[in-house]
Symmetry: C2
Subunit: 335 residues, 2 copies
């Protein structure tokens, strides 16, 4: 049997924690094996939850701290006051080689600052990128950067292509990674100089991780023709949030319409199985977890508002990333 | 009775033209009065369609030309070869004071180049902006720039706020225009320097056209708290197209689910009235028409692929813009 994987878990961040975190571990651990969970947080609250769960005591360690970072703390306040916090200690366990990845549902800004303070960047990567999964018609896209860097140069975008493809390959090992640059037209002439130069570099330089597919427009993101979409953090953040807002708008309008008459209500009940299937496909918990790429250990941010199923999914993502040797893939391919 | 409004119409652009154009005029003219339509295109094809329609002959003029700009022409080719084209002649009628606005469903790039060659910019406006309607929970947003300018400075974004509000006020005269800058966070600290500086300018300078509401994130565009959303052409184009792609993705997934079982099909039929209501609310034909703002006459681009109902809606938009004195409003408020 190979060495177990160690996942560091900040148990105290996000809504309804540590309850959902422990429940998430229970779900994840029942579907896998050879994983250790290094749990950081308030032992008085965590231990009773663990005892009540089906999690075997030999697969977790608790490191006790009463200190944790609040969602309202600014990243800098968090970094200053947070050396004994559950988040800091969890990240530190990566630095000390005790854990292979960290998952937290806590304060995003604080997690990234604390990760950058404790962990090293991968050599020759200049900027870390925030990456996440985004559904398309036939599977999943990896999209980055989603907000870590407002402005990016050619080298950053090339790095993002490599890091995003390495992530894609770790998560979906049987698929070919196909990279496209997000732009406002599919013709070569469109876009700013940075995008055009990046196009040239990616078009000329072959690599083992991905196939370069040129530009992609916003309305094609979900078509499934490509699966790694690269952009700067400003555009990526606006695109992701706009998609989120559109999905919410449509589903709430649909709900309103379906319930606006007795006949509508009746047929919605008849159709409830199909509607559920539809809802499941779009369930945001399936895509839960943003990954900060560029550091030499995997840092995974679970949504603060997700539940135990969402948290379990981010644990699955972290497991795949470690088993898929994400960091090694990036290191091997970086220019 | 006041003087009639003259709308110049390029009858030859877009799918299924001039059929849909003439049908669109028929729909529009039956719901309004005191409008003249100056129609440019091939008389041999247009005249029989007009004769068969309910459009009274005294409310239109045809200017014959066999020359028209193809969708595949590059804007420059179009500008060079196009002096006798239906699009060029239609735009020229604005320059000659024969028409008050132009509507075309033809080649977008060509329309903008030909408009810029023939018409003057409004004094002190440096860049034209492409603007369109975007539904929100309680009404409509005006969003700009959607792709005319990849990079924008503070002055451009302030101009877009004024032009977008003037457009909003012309279209929805009883509503208060509320402007927000599209950004990746609602806190004052986020975003690049240009956005932060624009925030300061808009926050300090009061005006009669709109209320400034600060920043807005992509997921809030459809909430209805603001109704004029300002951004550069790169971000705006990506956001608009991403929303379009997301809407298509969700409705096609929904359709697939609803039809995946006999029960689903049955209840979808039962529910067809409600589903239709839903579809109508999201009908893109309602929001048809992009408006190029900044020129001293209104230039309206109808989608190439829309039908007669969509084309009629873009005629309605042009009528509202003229009656609402859009250009005067912009001139009066520009800094």
């Amino acid at each position: 049997m190979s060495n177990p994987i160690n996942i560091a878990i900040d148990a105290m961040g996000g809504e309804n924690s540590p309850y959902k975190v422990i429940k998430g571990i229970e779900i994840h651990s029942s579907n896998t094996n050879n994983i250790n969970y290094n749990i950081y947080g308030d032992q008085k609250i965590i231990e009773p939850l663990l005892k009540k769960s089906n999690i075997k005591s030999k697969i977790y360690n608790i490191t006790h701290t009463e200190n944790y970072i609040k969602d309202t703390d600014s990243p800098l306040t968090a970094a200053k006051k947070g050396k004994n916090s559950s988040m800091w200690l969890a990240v530190e366990s990566l630095k000390n080689q005790e854990s292979d990845a960290i998952v937290s549902a806590g304060n995003t800004g604080a997690l990234f600052v604390i990760a950058k303070l404790n962990l090293k960047m991968i050599e020759r990567i200049e900027k870390p990128a925030l990456s996440a999964l985004w559904p398309n018609k036939i599977g999943m896209n990896v999209v980055l950067d989603l907000g870590a860097n407002i402005e990016c140069n050619e080298k950053n975008l090339v790095d993002f292509s490599l890091m995003g493809s390495a992530l894609h390959k770790s998560l979906f090992e049987n698929e070919m990674s196909k990279v496209a640059l997000l732009n406002i037209g599919s013709e070569e002439l469109k876009g700013n100089n940075i995008i055009k130069n990046t196009y040239q570099i990616l078009n000329e330089k072959k690599n083992s991780l991905f196939e370069f597919k040129g530009y992609i427009e916003g309305n094609k993101i979900m078509d499934g023709d490509v699966n790694v979409i690269v952009t700067d953090g400003f555009t990526g953040n606006v695109a992701l949030k706009t998609a989120e807002g559109t999905a919410n708008f449509i589903t709430s309008e649909l709900k309103k319409t379906m319930n606006s008459s007795l006949l509508g209500k009746l047929s919605a009940i008849l159709n409830i199985k199909n509607l559920k299937k539809f809802k499941n496909k779009l369930d945001p918990r399936l895509y839960n977890g943003a990954i900060l790429l560029g550091l030499d250990k995997p840092v995974i941010k679970s949504h603060g508002s997700t539940d135990e199923i969402g948290f379990a999914n981010s644990l699955k993502v972290s497991e795949k990333i470690i088993k898929g040797k994400l960091i090694e893939k990036i290191k091997k391919n970086i220019i």
